[in-house]
């Protein structure tokens, strides 16, 4: 069965510190992996995605993620966190239906708090 696990419900970091958000997935086919961010009262914004190729993916806002097939992981990282990064982060796995993106399976989210 398809599933996504985000082990950390809540993470607190100081501004300027490095960040790693964990994501593990279970998927029967070639996974297409995503990280989304949701600020309070807002919809989901795509940070980055991985379909194939280089396993280190660069995204917006200085985020990157690394796909590790052997560990079924797709962890999100940022070298230096800004106070504006405080938000909820969702990892998702999905598949392609024909030529379009099919349904996404989401993790339960990680809430990031940033201390000044």
């Amino acid at each position: 069965a398809q599933s996504v696990t985000q082990p950390d419900i809540h993470i607190t970091v100081s501004e300027g510190a490095s960040l790693e958000l964990r994501c593990n997935y279970s998927y029967g086919a070639t996974p297409y992996l995503f990280w989304y961010v949701q600020s309070p009262g807002q919809g989901l914004q795509l940070l980055l995605k991985y379909f194939s190729g280089d396993t280190l993916v660069q995204g917006i806002k200085g985020f990157e993620a690394e796909f590790k097939r052997s560990q079924s992981s797709f962890n999100l990282r940022k070298p230096s966190v800004h106070w504006s990064d405080a938000a909820e982060y969702f990892c998702a796995v999905g598949a392609i239906w024909g030529s379009t993106l099919g349904r996404l399976y989401f993790g339960r989210g990680t809430q990031l708090t940033v201390w000044p």
């Binding site: 985000q6 419900i9 297409y32 995503f34 989304y36 807002q42 919809g43 989901l44 795509l46 995605k49 379909f51 969702f90 392609i96 239906w97 030529s99 379009t100 993106l101 099919g102 349904r103 996404l104 989401f106 993790g107 339960r108 989210g109």
Partner: protein, 111 residues
């Protein structure tokens, strides 16, 4: 630049009311989805549609139905609203080239 529009940001309805949540996309996407978001549970799929008049149940369809009469519009219907349907509802539209867009969400409160 709005691509997926949900008709309401906030709704308050009474128990037993029939509730319609509307979602419109302007990108000619085939696949549209309704998710429900609750704290600590992430996003759970209610229903999806891959073509006009086509619909499939997601993981939590009970108490909901959907309608897709036109490609750009996907409606979620709560036949008889209950307090346990108080939640944030997110509509999504997925297209070719792995485009995926989400609406701003509708926060529904059932009293």
């Amino acid at each position: 630049d709005v691509k997926v529009t949900q008709s309401s940001r906030y709704l308050v309805k009474r128990t037993g009311e029939k509730v319609f949540l509307e979602c419109v996309q302007d990108m000619d996407h085939e696949n549209m989805f309704w998710y429900r978001q609750d704290p600590g549970l992430g996003l759970r799929l209610i229903y999806f549609s891959y073509d006009v008049k086509m619909k499939e149940k997601g993981d939590i369809p009970e108490g909901y139905s959907v309608s897709r009469e036109k490609k750009e519009r996907f409606s979620l219907i709560l036949e008889s609203a209950s307090t346990n349907q108080t939640s944030m509802y997110l509509c999504a539209s997925f297209g070719s080239n792995t485009e995926a867009f989400f609406g701003q969400g509708t926060r529904l409160t059932v009293v």
